[in-house]
């Protein structure tokens, strides 16, 4: 009897931790029946590329959410990156490093601004990153007069390089995940992030530099958005103001589906990877099933609800 109960508890615990991977597995099984086309090399390649683009921002978004924050300005940073790369390099391959460096510096400044507003001015993250987004968009419009100029260097198209379903964006996503996973789990900075997110007052009282940690996280999130922006720009090959539409909210959705909580301190990159894949697989399935592309919004919403509902249930009962 006791054993049975224990077993029951263990199962629920397991669901809480690995639930999202279980969901991913079930989704793949379902997909293999109703949309077997998903597993064709070309489809997989596109799906993974899109996952990488979303996944790279989602790394930053996850870290921001771990310190009980939110970053709605990442989409703006991506568009800024594509404009800066085109403007600075103007199509010349040898200027790619310089143009990326400029984008990184501007991105870091945006993240720094977010962090300052949130820590020193105590502005809620939602509002701080939102007004920052408006500022970035406004600056872009003022500088480009609505018509982006410049050219994307051809060499940046290297991100289109792929081998089967493997591609450079996928590799970058993997490497960045590995780096930040190690940072979160094995360095003192990573532990500080979790500490600040779970209990800010306790973290401050135990002498952690709360403000510094938060600001660094926002700067990192912006820099990751720049990285995603560089890849997206190289892939598209021209400057597009609408290049990042929806990516900001999707990155939040991926983190949430992966089990990262809005109130901070709970979650991590492994969950987010699964969250990204679930969202992208579902979006691809919508297309493969010939459904109206807009229905993917409905599905995303339902998946978010289902995910948080399950996490809530598992937490309550575990």
């Amino acid at each position: 009897m006791v054993d049975k109960e224990k077993h029951h508890l263990k199962l629920k615990n397991l669901i809480a931790v690995y639930g999202v991977y279980l969901a991913l597995l079930i989704l793949l099984l379902v997909a293999s029946y109703i949309t077997p086309d998903l597993f064709e090399e070309d489809t997989l390649a596109v799906m993974f590329r899109q996952s990488a683009q979303l996944g790279i921002i989602a790394i930053g978004q996850t870290m921001v959410m771990l310190v009980a924050g939110l970053d709605l300005s990442v989409g703006g940073v991506i568009v800024m990156t594509s404009m800066v790369v085109a403007e600075v390099s103007n199509g010349r391959d040898e200027l790619i490093p310089l143009s990326i460096l400029v984008a990184l510096i501007i991105g870091a400044m945006i993240g720094f601004g977010n962090g300052l507003l949130i820590t020193k001015r105590k502005v809620p993250p939602l509002v701080a990153t939102l007004v920052m987004l408006f500022l970035v968009q406004g600056a872009q419009q003022a500088i480009t007069r609505g018509v982006p100029s410049g050219f994307v260097p051809e060499a940046l198209g290297v991100v289109n390089q792929s081998w089967g379903f493997l591609s450079i964006p996928l590799a970058v996503w993997f490497v960045l995940n590995a780096i930040f996973f190690v940072m979160l789990k094995m360095t003192s900075f990573g532990r500080q992030i979790y500490a600040v997110g779970s209990n800010e007052d306790a973290a401050r009282l135990s002498g952690l530099a709360v403000h510094k940690t938060k600001i660094t996280v926002y700067v990192l999130a912006s820099c990751l958005a720049v990285a995603s922006g560089v890849i997206l720009t190289g892939y598209v090959g021209y400057v597009d103001r609408f290049i990042a539409t929806g990516l900001d909210l999707d990155s939040v959705a991926a983190a949430v589906v992966g089990g990262t909580a809005f109130y901070g301190g709970k979650g991590g990159l492994l969950g987010t990877i699964a969250g990204v894949l679930i969202i992208q697989i579902l979006s691809t399935m919508v297309v493969l099933l010939g459904l109206d592309a807009q229905t993917q919004f409905i599905i995303k919403g339902l998946v978010i609800l289902a995910a948080v509902g399950l996490y809530g249930f598992a937490q309550k009962n575990a």
């Binding site: 939602l126 408006f134 419009q141 939040v252 959705a253 919403g301 978010i304 509902g309």
Partner: protein
């Protein structure tokens, strides 16, 4: 006495700053443009303020309970489409279309509250999911303008009474109603209590769940009303309407001194925030500022307004 004065000043610091900023904008407008202070332009500004303001007042009620509603932009979009389709240009359908749209709004809000109350989910997550779902439903219905307003309904937009658009009267009345609700009724006191300290509110017998049904219901209802106002203005169901409205509404509410942590905020502050946003837009147009530069100026004003407040004092701290 002196201290009392200081407290009073501190208490109302946010409202003073917001209206101070509005005053600066009006002064700049009056100096640099002859058209700005004309009755025509001012009534126009207030009519525009009604659109953001109606949604912002609803958002404020939710935020006062330490909640948030991220879905109102998507709901406004859906309301415009549904009401336009139901009305279909026929005056006989107006009553039916309006009541069904309002019912739709109310039910969405009650569903939000149900998920938050009964399933213990955070308001952020519930309305974040709802944002996607409502947007998905809207865009599945149509991605092109659809349906038609009846002529009489459309005329309400330009209808004036003593030179003032009827929409402005409506918004004024709504503002007074919400202020009355918050200051004079038990429900209003409950709203502040739930947002101020949930545990204390629960222990002192405040019906927390009912309060949530109330505020989320009202918030979504007002979003549906905003959708109807847009139908009056556009004459068709345009799926572009409502994009990022929730974000502007939240900015107006927060700039107006309402704490996102709940329990603190005033109607006058929110109206100040709405006027600040609306006057900024209007001024940039009236002064003929290049449309590409105006986005930058707007961004600077927002960041400035948000950064102006001192931490720990006045702003997110004490402003009932």
């Amino acid at each position: 006495m002196k201290q009392l004065k200081g407290n009073l000043l501190q208490k109302h610091a946010v409202v003073l700053v917001v209206y101070g900023l509005v005053f600066v904008l009006i002064t700049v407008g009056a100096i640099y443009s002859e058209r700005f202070l004309s009755v025509r332009n001012l009534t126009n500004v207030f009519r525009q303020a009604a659109y953001l303001g109606t949604a912002a007042l609803g958002e404020m009620l939710v935020i006062l309970t330490a909640g948030i509603d991220l879905s109102i932009g998507s709901l406004v979009k859906l309301s415009v489409l549904v009401s336009a389709i139901l009305m279909d240009g026929n005056p006989d359908n107006v009553l039916m279309a309006v009541s069904l749209t309002l019912a739709l709004g109310l039910s969405v809000g009650l569903i939000h509250a149900f998920f938050i109350n009964e399933l213990n989910l955070s308001p952020f997550v519930v309305t974040f999911a709802s944002l996607f779902i409502l947007q998905g439903i809207s865009l599945t219905i149509t991605t092109k303008p659809i349906g038609r307003s009846s002529k009489e309904f459309l005329l309400l937009y330009s209808q004036k009474f003593f030179e003032v658009p009827v929409i402005v009267y409506f918004f004024g009345l709504l503002t007074l109603l919400i202020a009355f609700l918050l200051r004079m009724t038990v429900f209003g006191k409950y709203i502040y209590a739930v947002g101020g300290n949930l545990t204390v509110a629960e222990l002192s017998g405040v019906p927390v769940k009912k309060v949530r049904y109330g505020v989320y219901g009202l918030c979504s209802l007002l979003a549906a009303v905003t959708g109807l106002l847009w139908l009056m203005r556009m004459g068709v169901g345009d799926p572009v309407i409502g994009k990022e409205l929730e974000l502007n509404a939240i900015i107006a509410v927060v700039i107006g001194g309402t704490s996102l942590f709940g329990g603190r905020g005033t109607v006058s502050g929110v109206i100040g925030g709405v006027l600040l946003l609306t006057f900024t837009d209007n001024l940039l147009v009236v002064l003929g500022v290049n449309q590409f530069v105006s986005g930058l100026i707007k961004g600077l004003i927002f960041v400035g307004a948000v950064a102006l407040y001192k931490p720990n004092k006045g702003f997110y701290g004490s402003s009932i």
